[in-house]
């Protein structure tokens, strides 16, 4: 590069360092390719998972017929053969019949394949998908022609509505009654602990409770009876389906989540299926060991934890930063504390998890249980992982981020403004509240949102402090006291770990994990984007306001 014909010195190629430049540039581009590759992988797999695929019917040379969604094909070397061949992975579904949801088919074995329009894909509550033909249906004892799509859809919708009603009855009404009964028992136990078993107060309370319990037990019986009635009604709505091998199966209509003729689906129909799957994923509960259904509880848990985390971390972080920057005497001690706080941001998250489990859940939670929830011991209430402890743990984990960001924001407020305010007779708090904090707000908010983003994506400490693979109840619900900080909860990140690693069939679970990963990344990215947006907005508002 330095070479020039007019120069007396000859060109020195080594000085240009061209091979090294290419190396450095290669490193940068390799890094970029990696990121783009990963993002593209997640985006593509996450976005494509719900798109309805066509179903192929394959007739093998052996005379056997199968039908399934082609997933992918690859080259392979059949056992005992030197030549490579191709094979295709089909998702054949019908786990209850075949014992496996996927099947590799050697291209060489295939005789004929086509895509008949009458093949339907049925998503079921249990046993995964069913692939086959719809041959008949029955509702309340009368036959229904499945070719009459509208009537069939209406009956199906009705069955689904009934099923939802049954679930609500079971989950909400009956569970509420059970909770009441349990609460009576606990109240009695608390009285026993306080006044001693067999004391007059306890006996009186027991009598009173018994009269209430009679009511609740009657209520329980009534609800169970209603549920039983609905169940028997439900069992009469069935569809008859035939799989590609010719076996006929009867399916309960209410157990069919969704069905569509995969090969006769127009673009509009495909989009409808796609959107309805997304809607189910975002709003429903998981089923089939989390590999199907939705992730609503996990999204809700992630959000609830993140909100709680920010409520905890914002005042604490800002207070600490204010103390360090505005109140403490700047000296060696504060400098050392600052270094330490900076470093705490780098302490592995799992260490915080260990601390959270040992200190919050076991020590603090155990103490709370012994003092306030002695009646339910030995079952822990707060003495085990839960939403509060997980949020507190993540608050400890992320508080350095907020402290550092707030400190930097406070430092960027010019000294002259503080001095001006103080000179006008404002108190220190007035100066902080009216002058310093507003100017520092963009930085503080950025730090807070970055902390939330980090907290939302963190999994390791949560595994120790309250995340579970399947939580029966959300941490916020209609049952008193509405916010249940002691409950364990589901989390998107842990959901990814759990479904990807603990499920029976990782091939079946993989697409769902990609979708969950996409949702989690979007959540984190949205938080990050929000941080950037807020910073830009607020920075613009105060631009020119400094002097």
């Amino acid at each position: 590069m330095s070479a020039s014909a007019t120069r007396a010195r000859p060109p020195d190629l080594a000085a240009g360092g061209e091979p090294f430049l290419f190396g450095l540039g290669g490193a940068l581009l390799a890094g970029l390719f990696m990121i783009l590759g990963v993002l593209a992988l997640i985006l593509w797999n996450g976005a494509a998972t719900f798109w309805p695929r066509p179903i192929e019917r394959v007739e093998l040379r052996s005379g056997h017929t199968l039908a399934g969604e082609p997933i992918r094909s690859e080259r392979f070397r059949p056992a005992g053969s030197a030549a490579e061949s191709r094979r295709t992975l089909y998702r054949v579904g019908n786990y209850d019949l075949y014992g496996d949801e996927f099947r590799w088919v050697d291209e060489a074995e295939i005789g004929r394949r086509d895509r008949p329009g009458d093949l339907v894909l049925i998503e079921r509550l249990e046993w995964g998908v069913f692939i086959g033909r719809l041959v008949g249906a029955e509702t309340a004892g009368r036959a229904l022609d499945p070719a009459d799509a509208e009537a069939f859809a209406a009956v199906h919708a009705e069955a689904r509505r009934r099923w939802r009603g049954m679930r609500a009855l079971e989950r909400d009404a009956i569970a509420e009654v059970n909770r009441r009964i349990e609460r009576e028992r606990l109240d009695l136990r608390r009285l026993e602990l306080r006044h001693g078993a067999g004391s007059a107060i306890v006996r009186a309370a027991a009598d009173a409770a018994e009269s209430r319990l009679v009511h609740w037990r009657a209520e329980h019986g009534r609800l169970s009876e209603r549920l039983e009635r609905l169940r028997s009604e439900d069992a009469r709505d069935t569809a008859r389906v035939v799989e590609s091998g010719g076996r006929e199966v009867a399916l309960k209509l209410s157990a069919i989540v969704r069905f569509y003729p995969a090969n006769a689906l127009g673009p509009l129909g495909a989009i409808r299926v796609y959107l309805s799957r997304w809607a189910e994923f975002l709003s429903e509960e998981p089923r089939e060991a989390n590999t199907e259904g939705g992730v609503w509880p996990a999204i809700f848990g992630t959000l609830a934890m993140t909100v709680l985390l920010s409520l905890l971390v914002a005042p604490l972080g800002v207070m600490t930063a204010l103390y360090l920057r505005e109140y403490a005497r700047q000296g060696r001690a504060v400098a050392a504390v600052r270094i330490a706080v900076n470093n705490l941001a780098g302490v592995p998250s799992i260490v915080y998890g260990v601390f959270g489990l040992g200190f919050f859940a076991y020590l603090a939670g155990g103490t709370i249980d012994a003092l306030g929830f002695a009646e339910s011991l030995p079952n822990p209430t707060f003495g085990t992982g839960g939403l509060l402890w997980a949020s507190l743990t993540l608050a400890m984990l992320t508080v350095p981020v907020v402290i550092v960001a707030t400190e930097e924001a406070l430092a960027s407020v010019p000294r002259s403004m503080r001095e001006g305010s103080l000179a006008c007779g404002a108190s220190q708090w007035q100066t902080i509240r009216r002058i310093v904090l507003p100017r520092a707000m963009p930085g503080i908010l950025t730090g807070l949102i970055l902390a939330m983003a980090r907290g939302a994506g963190e999994v390791a400490p949560l595994m120790l402090t309250g995340v579970v693979k399947l939580a029966p109840e959300l941490p916020i619900d209609a049952s008193f006291p509405y916010l249940h900080l002691e409950r364990s909860f589901m989390h998107l990140g842990f959901h990814i770990f759990d479904v990807g690693f603990q499920s029976r069939n990782s091939e079946a679970a993989k697409p769902m994990v990609f979708v969950a990963a996409l949702v989690l990344i979007l959540l984190v990215a949205a938080l990050n984007a929000l941080a950037i947006l807020i910073r830009a907005r607020l920075a613009a508002r105060f631009r020119g306001g400094q002097f």
């Binding site: 330095s2 060109p11 490193a27 390799a30 990121i35 204010l322 007779g425 120790l464 770990f497």
Partner: protein, 861 residues
């Protein structure tokens, strides 16, 4: 404010009270809140230390209860204590069975064994002390059983004798329970009919129950005065349908003890496959009984120094370890290990020498639950030890002197001894609490010799299905795994991150830079669980099916970049300068893609060339030769050596010779030189590899061995993803912070941008770059989810990039949810967390200090 006349006092009065209160309150809240958060954050370390601390404390032991026994002529052979340590049973040679209340020494009646006036000459008891065997001088043997029974009763009979808190009725003891009920405790004993085993007196015997619940077996070994060991084995079969039991009894004669040795003690395993006989002359004989039809004396050894004899011996739980105590006070633990020298392929090896007693050891008692061991000597010292950790946990002393019978409580929470001075027999009961007997700093960080292992080693295995399983809790394999994962991650991430940072800061077009930097920083916000998932379910299978291509990529990518650079030099200077911006960047991108494509396309060919067509089989050592892979390993060092060597030796001469050629010629020569260097390096590497292979060196078995799908390479890739953005951002910031006038001066002096970057900018920003590396290191050390998901979690110690690993953090995540609170495992996992905390805190503090110094220096430039 505008009124100059208002006096300060007047002003003060006008300050609203609310303002003052708010100020005071804010001051207080912020101060307490701020200090509180800082304290809380530091409390983490304190809490971790507090939890870990009890691991290394000696447990408590020594609180003693003493009571005198009325029946002082009793000479207890053996004692048994119930699990609540309320009653102690003692048996003597005349068949007397006595029951004592531990606290008061009050005697209680129990059914004696009726020996018909005979006095037992030999005695044996199984580990837990319930099964007893007595040998007599007439050659007969009697088997007996004593056992504590208990039940919970609501009411107790009236007229009981008060014994401390307890009540006694002469046969049973009633202890109060916290809920108002009582526990009734009594002893049952049973004696079987005599079995005639020999004509001479029985000197030593042992008796074991074994087999399964459906096929219980009982085995008896007795050695008579003639030195003839005899084995009697009764196997009971329960008929599945009729539930009728049929018992088959067989007797075998074992080879006699050689040269007239007199047996003193015998030991038998429950499975009756091994027998040990100690002789009066200090020798120990081992019999192999695995084939009962052909019992063989397979080993004879003298386990103690000359002159000393074996004064006590016992198995530890699991019957794999043999404890031998000597008349010289030695207490040693011996393992039966596979060996060439033993007659049956095994040999006894002394694995642990515990702290010796000052005098002869008079008794041993082993725990039923772990590797705890009691030993007593003739001076009345009773020591509680742990066999594996070789720790002496408590030194208890019987004030009277000689200890006659010794027992460890069933829950390992107490020690019971009968001790005698002159004619007074006393019961001593100590409470011991040893929750973490198996851990010392040495067992956690040093090599430990575990049962069944050929040599001391580092092992992490916290749980297993077996009953006699001993948790093996060495943190070393986990620390090793952490270092390995960090090393591979950093080896992958640092070149990319630092190279990218330098290129971005110094050579990248400003407009591209504005887009590139946030893109890489976005990587930092990818949750690690997503990276782990991709690594394990996408990357690992991909790498597995493309191993050769992945290895080739490490060669192909740099080579194609270098080749592109040498070709680029062929461009005329003016055109090169014109294309130096975006087109060159795009070209480099194309070359990276080309390199990857080449690697993928040439992968199968490369696999045939280096790995004989199948990487995994090659790694297992099944096929192929060692040479090609060694060439690969040696290629980079030999290229560096040759390149530097030619530059040193002939660089000036070459420059002088080529000076008149002009740029194009120079570039062509440069390309030719590079190609020649490559060829020479390849030749040199091949020569060295051939020589090494001829010497018998093979990378397999030492560096690479076997292939696991989730391996260090995959972890390195995935963790690289997590580390790259951090290192990149901080390093790039540091480089960009170097003041512009330094660059301008350097370029003005005629230096090329490359020279400026490498000689001026990089040295100036070096401490910032170093801080970036350290912070990346800290992140890699503590990364959890990626490792949990992608590393296979096998706690092995090998550097093999294709092998699995388990890091400290992954171990915590996997095992802590299952660990019982305050157990040894729980505390050890807290210790792991503390180690992680300490490592990252140290690394980050170093980085922070360096960074602050850099900032100060950069500001002064």
């Amino acid at each position: 404010m505008t009124a100059p006349s208002s006096a300060p006092i007047h002003r003060q009065r006008r300050t609203r009270r609310a303002v003052l209160i708010a100020d005071r309150a804010a001051d207080l809240v912020i101060r307490t809140g701020g200090v509180g958060v800082i304290v809380a954050v530091f409390a983490i370390m304190a809490f971790l230390i507090e939890t870990v601390w009890p691991l290394f404390l000696a447990g408590s032991g020594g609180q003693r209860i003493e009571s005198e026994v009325a029946e002082s002529d009793l000479r207890p052979l053996s004692t048994l204590v119930d699990e609540h340590r309320r009653l102690a049973a003692a048996v003597d040679r005349h068949g007397r069975v006595r029951l004592f209340h531990v606290e008061t020494g009050a005697g209680m009646a129990a059914a004696d064994f009726d020996f018909g006036g005979a006095r037992a000459a030999a005695f044996a008891r199984a580990l837990e002390g319930r099964d007893l065997a007595f040998g007599f001088n007439d050659g007969s043997v009697r088997l007996a059983r004593i056992e504590f029974r208990s039940e919970v009763v609501a009411e107790i009979p009236t007229g009981l004798r008060a014994l401390g808190r307890d009540r006694g009725d002469g046969r049973a003891l009633y202890s109060p329970l916290p809920d108002g009920q009582w526990r009734r405790l009594w002893l049952e004993s049973a004696l079987e009919a005599p079995l005639k085993l020999s004509d001479g007196p029985i000197l030593a015997l042992d008796y074991r129950r074994g087999g399964t619940a459906e096929r219980p077996s009982r085995t008896l070994l007795a050695v008579d005065a003639a030195g003839l060991p005899r084995l009697l084995r009764a196997e009971t079969r329960l008929h599945l349908l009729t539930r009728r039991a049929t018992t088959r009894t067989v007797a075998f004669d074992l080879p006699a003890l050689p040269d007239g040795a007199q047996a003193t003690r015998a030991l038998l395993t429950s499975a009756a496959d091994q027998a040990y006989v100690a002789a009066a002359d200090g020798r120990l004989f081992r019999y192999d009984l695995r084939d009962p039809a052909r019992p063989a004396l397979v080993e004879t050894l003298r386990p103690l120094p000359a002159g000393a004899t074996i004064s006590a011996m016992t198995f530890l739980i699991g019957e794999q370890s043999l404890v031998l105590a000597g008349s010289d006070g030695a207490v040693d633990v011996w393992f039966r290990l596979p060996s060439e020298t033993g007659g049956d392929g095994f040999a006894l090896v002394k694995a642990h020498a515990l702290e010796p007693h000052a005098g002869a050891v008079s008794g041993l008692a082993a725990s039923e639950r772990g590797k705890l061991l009691l030993s007593a000597d003739v001076a009345g010292r009773v020591w509680l030890r742990h066999a594996t950790s070789e720790r002496t946990l408590a030194k208890l002393a019987a004030p009277q002197g000689a200890v006659e019978a010794l027992a460890l409580a069933p829950r390992d929470d107490g020690v019971l001894a009968f001790s005698r001075r002159q004619e007074s027999l006393r019961i001593l009961s100590w409470t011991v609490d040893q929750p973490h007997a198996e851990t010392t700093l040495r067992t956690v960080f040093g090599p430990v010799w575990y049962e069944g292992y050929a040599a001391p080693g580092f092992t992490w295995q916290s749980s297993s299905g077996g009953d006699g399983f001993e948790p093996k809790l060495s943190l070393v394999p986990l620390i090793f795994g952490t270092l390995k994962a960090t090393l591979y991650a950093m080896a992958f991430a640092l070149p990319i991150a630092l190279g990218a940072a330098i290129y971005t800061a110094e050579f990248l077009h400003r407009r591209i830079r504005a887009a590139v930097k946030p893109a890489i920083e976005m990587m930092a916000s990818l949750p690690s669980v997503v990276l782990g998932f991709i690594a394990a379910l996408v990357l690992a299978p991909l790498v597995e099916s493309w191993v050769a291509a992945v290895i080739l990529a490490f060669v192909a990518l740099p080579l194609s970049l270098a080749a592109a650079a040498f070709l680029w030099q062929l461009l005329p200077a003016a055109r090169a300068r014109r294309l130096g911006g975006v087109p060159k960047f795009v070209l480099i991108g194309g070359v990276v893609g080309l390199g990857l494509w080449l690697a993928a396309a040439l992968g199968p060919w490369f696999e045939r060339l280096v790995f004989a067509g199948d990487v995994k089989a090659w790694l297992e050592g099944d096929i192929g030769s060692a040479v090609p892979f060694l060439v690969l390993l040696l290629f980079v060092p030999s290229y560096l050596a040759i390149a530097l060597g030619t530059r040193r030796a002939a660089g000036d001469a070459l420059a002088a010779m080529t000076r008149p050629l002009g740029r194009a010629g120079l570039a062509a020569i440069d390309l030719a030189r590079w190609l020649a260097e490559l060829a020479a390096a390849l030749l040199l590497a091949w020569l060295m590899a051939a020589a090494l292979a001829a010497l018998g060196f093979d990378a397999r078995g030492s560096l690479v061995e076997g292939y696991a799908q989730r391996n260090a390479l995959v972890v390195g890739f995935a963790m690289g993803f997590a580390v790259i953005p951090i290192v990149y951002t901080i390093a790039e910031d540091a480089l960009a912070a170097v003041p512009e006038h330094l660059r301008a001066a350097s370029l003005g002096c005629g230096a090329t941008p490359w020279q400026t970057a490498i000689r001026i900018v990089l040295p100036t920003a070096l401490s910032g770059v170093f801080a970036a590396v350290m912070i990346g290191l800290g992140r890699a050390v503590g990364e959890t989810m990626i490792v949990v998901m992608a590393a296979g979690n096998t706690p092995v110690m090998e550097w093999n990039p294709f092998g699995g690993l388990r890091t400290l953090s992954a171990n915590i995540a996997v095992e802590l949810p299952e660990a019982v609170r305050d157990s040894t495992l729980y505390r050890l996992l807290f210790l792991s967390a503390l180690v992680l905390f300490a490592i990252t805190f140290a690394v980050n503090t170093l980085a922070e200090i360096v960074r602050l110094r850099f900032r100060k220096r950069a500001a002064s430039l």
